[in-house]
Every structure is written in C-alpha cells, then in structure tokens.
C-alpha cells in the first residue's frame, strides 16, 4: 500500500469513529447540568477525554483543514474544561474562602498593609498640619457647604436624618465606599501610582477636615460621629490600597514569572480581600446610616460598636474566628467517671 492509500485508509477509519465522538459529547451534556456521584459516568468521561485526545492527534495529522478536526478540537477542549473545573458548590467554596483563602491572602498582603497604613497616617498628619498652619487651604479639601456649616458652629452631619432617611443614607454611603475601595484597588493597574494617589488624597482630606473642625471646637463631635463606622471603613481603605499596591508591585517587579502572569496572580490573590472589603463596607454603611447620625446613641455605645466591629473584622480576616469555632466544635475527651455514670444510668 502506498503512502497516499495508507493515509486514505487511516482517514476513513478515523471518520468512522464520529459516532463515538457524538456519544462522548452527549454524555458530557448530560453530566454538565447536573451533580452526580456516579463514579462510573465520571470515569467514562475521563475515557472519552483520552479517546478524543487520541483521535484529535490523528485528525491534526490526517485531516488538518477539515471540519472534523474543528469538531474534535472543540469536543476535546470542552471535555478538558469539564474535567478541570474548580470548586463550584457555593457552600464549600464559601467555606474554603473564609477559612483558607482569605486568611492566606491577608497574610500575604501583610507588608503592603503596614506600608499603606503608614502612608495613610502620614498623609492624614500632613493634611492636619497644612490646614492648621494655613487654614485657607481647607478650600482644597472640603466643599463650600461643609465649610460654611462648620463656621456656623455646626457639623454637616447634624440633623442629617431629617433630610435623608437612614436606609437611603446607608445605601448611598456604602455604594460610594465600595466604589472608592474598588477604585483604590483597580488603580493599582497604573503601577501602583493610582492607588497611592487615592490613598494619599483620602488621608489628606481626613487630616485637613479634622484640623478645620478642631479649630472651631467640633473635633470631639466629629470623632463621635466617625468612631462607630470609621474604624472599619478606614481599615478597609488601607486594605484595598494594600491590594492595589500588591498589583502595582507585580507590574513593576514581575520576577521570573513574567509581568502578565505575575499581575494575574497578584490580582487574583488580592482580589479575594476586595470581596471581604465590600462585605465589610456594607456593614459599615449600615452603621453610618442608622447609628452614626442618630443623636440618641451615646458615645460609649458608638465606641463599643466601632471597636467591636473592628475586632470582628480582624478575627474574620485573620481566620481566628473560624479556628475558635472549630475548637469549640471538637468533641471533648470524656472522663472515666462520665463513662461509668453513663453505663450505670
């Protein structure tokens, strides 16, 4: 048999296997939309995968520019995707996220978090010093309405609930905070400079406003307003910035993995923190809408709420909360006395 006839024979034999390919794809369709514990079916998909790989290799050689090859490429890619997918059960994905992924990402972000917190504090101190020394500069950081209100001896937050209901205020605030937080993270794409800009600007504004209201004797009132929600809100600001800085550094110093891969890995790891940040900001927004502007809530309660929420945040992010829960759920060793009592009872 000459070479051409041999290739014809092989091609023909390959085309005769189309029924098997169709069967494999139908099996995949059946399994795709359902959850099954049937190991036989799963094993058959793995067999299909090997069969498709084998036939595709032959098709690439024998039928390089044919629809059969396109079909096999698609079928093989589909089966590959089906066999190599990650965790999709929401409950176990969530458990994995809060117990393992999130604490690991926070630990990895540790150095960035120290640096961004330091930068934020320095920016706040700079804003405070600037406005204290040159009070007119407050015009750069605050709106005319805010300035006018403080100069009248009133915080702009006084009587806020008479203008906007708590629920509306909460949603507006948390939406704004989530967007700022996400922007601080995404701006890391500009080699970290965007993140530093947003972080620095927020620090400067905070310091400047505190210096301004302090000059008018309203600093304790502002601190009382901020304390309930601000502990977590400001921490989340630093966390988002830390995530953005990690993304920025991955672009500046990608290492051996290459810029694209390094960026992608840093973004996916730090992105987990962003999900937690968004959830924490929802809580902070609710506090800011319902508790912070409410004059009937005493300062002591505000401090307790602020510090309590912050401690809860720290224990969730570090994974300590779930470790304590696991310890409590572990069965206690039974004493001999208990055993004897149980038997006699």
């Amino acid at each position: 048999m000459d070479q051409t006839a041999r290739r014809h024979a092989l091609s023909t034999a390959l085309l005769q296997r189309a029924g098997l390919w169709r069967e494999a794809q139908s099996r995949l369709d059946r399994l795709a939309g359902t959850r099954t514990d049937d190991a036989t079916e799963a094993a058959r998909v793995a067999d299909d995968y090997r069969m498709l790989a084998h036939d595709l290799a032959r098709a690439r050689d024998l039928l390089p520019t044919t629809r059969t090859r396109d079909y096999l490429e698609g079928a093989y890619a589909r089966t590959h995707g089906a066999l190599h997918h990650g965790e999709w059960r929401v409950s176990s994905a969530l458990r994995q996220f809060v117990r393992v992924d999130l604490p690991a990402a926070i630990a990895w972000l540790g150095p960035y978090l120290w640096w961004t917190t330091l930068i934020f504090l320095l920016a706040a101190a700079a804003g405070y010093a600037l406005v204290r020394r040159y009070p007119d500069l407050i015009g750069l950081f605050a709106s005319p309405d805010l300035i006018a209100s403080v100069e009248r001896g009133k915080l702009w937050t006084d009587g806020l609930l008479n203008i906007v209901p708590s629920s509306v205020l909460s949603v507006q605030i948390l939406a704004n905070n989530v967007v700022v937080s996400l922007f601080a993270y995404c701006a890391g794409l500009f080699f970290g400079l965007g993140t530093l800009y947003i972080l620095g600007l927020n620090g400067l504004m905070l310091g400047a406003v505190f210096a301004f209201v302090g000059a008018h004797g309203l600093a304790p009132a502002l601190a009382g307003f901020i304390v309930a929600h601000g502990c977590v809100e400001l921490s989340v600001m630093c966390l988002s910035a830390a995530a953005g800085a990690a993304v920025g550094e991955a672009l500046i110093r990608p290492g051996r993995a290459g810029r694209m891969r390094s960026f992608s890995e840093a973004a996916e790891r730090s992105g987990r923190v962003l999900i937690a940040c968004a959830v924490l900001l929802v809580g902070a927004g609710l506090i800011e809408g319902f508790i912070s502007p409410n004059p009937r809530v005493p300062v002591g309660a505000r401090v307790a709420i602020g510090v309590g929420y912050w401690l809860a945040m720290v224990s969730i992010l570090s994974g300590r909360l779930f470790r304590i829960g696991d310890l409590l759920r572990q069965p206690q060793p039974r004493s001999v006395a208990n055993d004897v009592a149980a038997r006699s009872g």
Binding site: R22, T65, A75, A77, S167, L189, S264, A267
Partner: protein, 242 residues
C-alpha cells in the same frame, strides 16, 4: 476555519495540547451590546413597574422628597440590576451570560478550565478600569492590541474569552469500508452534502452534486443528464467507495 482564528494553546496531561479559539474584540463587543440591552430592559422594566405601582398611575416620576420605600424597593434594585448584572449572571452561568451565549463565546481560565468564582469576581471588578473613559474605551483598545484579545479584567483574573465549541460541524460518519479514491476532505464534503440534502434548494444541491461527481471522475454526459434521485444515489455510492 481553524486557521483564521487566533488560538490559545494549553498543555494537557494526555500529551495532546488543547487549542482554544480566542474571541476577538468584535465578538466581545457584540456580546456586551446584547447584555447591555438586556440589563437596561430589566432595570427599566423594574423601575417602570415599581414607579407605576408606587404612584398608582403610569407616571415614572420619583417622589419630590426622598422616600425610603421608593429608594429601597424601586430605585436601588433597578440600579443593582444594572450594575450587578455581569458579576451575578457570570457566576450563575459559570462564565457565560445571555449575550455571550448568543455570540457563542464564554469565559474560561487560561488553562482551559472553567473560571473560578474568585477569577470571575476579579474580572468584573476591573470593569471599573475597562469602562473608562466611556463605552468601555480602555477595555476595547486593550483587547484590540493585546495578545489573546484580553481586556484588563481578563489579564487580572487570568481568564480568556473563547468561542464555545458547537456540535453542528460534524458531518455524517463515513460508512466506507474500503479506502477508495476520495481523500478525507472530499469524503467530508460528500457526506456533508448528503447530510444537508433535504435542506438545500433543488437547483443548488444538484449543482453541487454534479461538481463533486465530475471532480471524482464521473462521466460528464451521464452526470449532466442525471436527475436528483440519481445524483443522490451516485453520491452515496461515492461516499461508501462502492
């Protein structure tokens, strides 16, 4: 067809690499426009129905003073539908959306596996940058010039938009028992014509059948005189090598 598409090649443990056809900025835009229309219709629909219910008339105007019920039940959900459509639907449909399905594409990880929950969320967070300054300007430009047509969100999440494999491309399986004169490509053409025979116009299928038969050595006089039935049976004989 496979030669025209750019492909992402991924290693696999069978030793045969997986070749994923990468979707370009055109099909990406098409999917986005479809999804944009869906979310606008859903958000406006919610708003219009809620406003009509709230006002008691067909008026869409909001109340003069901010009202918690209006905001919580009508305005906020409508905004949520518009802004959270992509992350929620992509998570629910595992990397797909109605627009992407219509365009025949889906999101997968760069290993060819289904994208993880985290990757899909990161991909959607970066829409904030891709959407700048307007109409996804950054995303469109970046995907036009990047390798594998990735937008910033895909680069961050390690994902890629690929064409979904369709199952309609496979011709009928050959029943030829013996290798004849036909090469694989011609066998495919003949089988595909036989498969589509009933869906083609009589003139078109007869013309195609004559061309194929003549190319494979049939007598021109006989083929040109043959009716549809005769052409069909000749094609069948050609495909089986009889």
């Amino acid at each position: 067809m496979s030669e025209q598409l750019s492909r992402l090649v991924v290693d696999s443990n069978t030793g045969i690499d997986v070749s994923l056809p990468v979707a370009g900025p055109g099909v990406r835009s098409y999917a986005f426009i479809v999804d944009w229309h869906i979310r606008v219709v859903l958000a406006l629909g919610w708003y219009a129905a809620g406003a009509a219910f709230y006002n008691g008339t067909l008026s869409l105007s909001p109340p003069p003073k901010t009202d918690a019920l209006w905001f919580g039940a009508i305005a906020a959900p409508a905004l949520a539908i518009y802004f959270l459509y992509h992350p929620v639907v992509e998570l629910a449909l595992r990397g797909s959306t109605p627009g992407k399905r219509l365009a025949g594409v889906r999101v997968v990880s760069r290993t060819g596996a289904a994208a993880t929950v985290g990757a899909l969320l990161v991909r959607n967070v970066f829409r904030l940058i891709d959407a700048l300054p307007a109409f996804y300007g950054v995303g469109l430009v970046v995907s036009a010039f990047s390798r594998d047509s990735l937008r910033c969100g895909d680069m961050a999440a390690g994902t890629v938009l690929i064409y979904q494999a369709t199952q309609e491309l496979l011709p009928l399986e050959s029943s030829r028992k013996h290798p004849g004169m036909l090469d694989a490509q011609s066998t495919e053409l003949v089988l595909e014509l036989l498969q589509r025979w009933d869906t083609l116009a009589p003139l078109a299928r007869a013309g195609l059948a004559r061309q194929l038969l003549l190319r494979h050595g049939a007598d021109a006089g006989v083929v040109n005189q043959a009716g549809e039935q005769e052409l069909h049976s000749r094609l069948e004989r050609l495909s089986t090598g009889a």
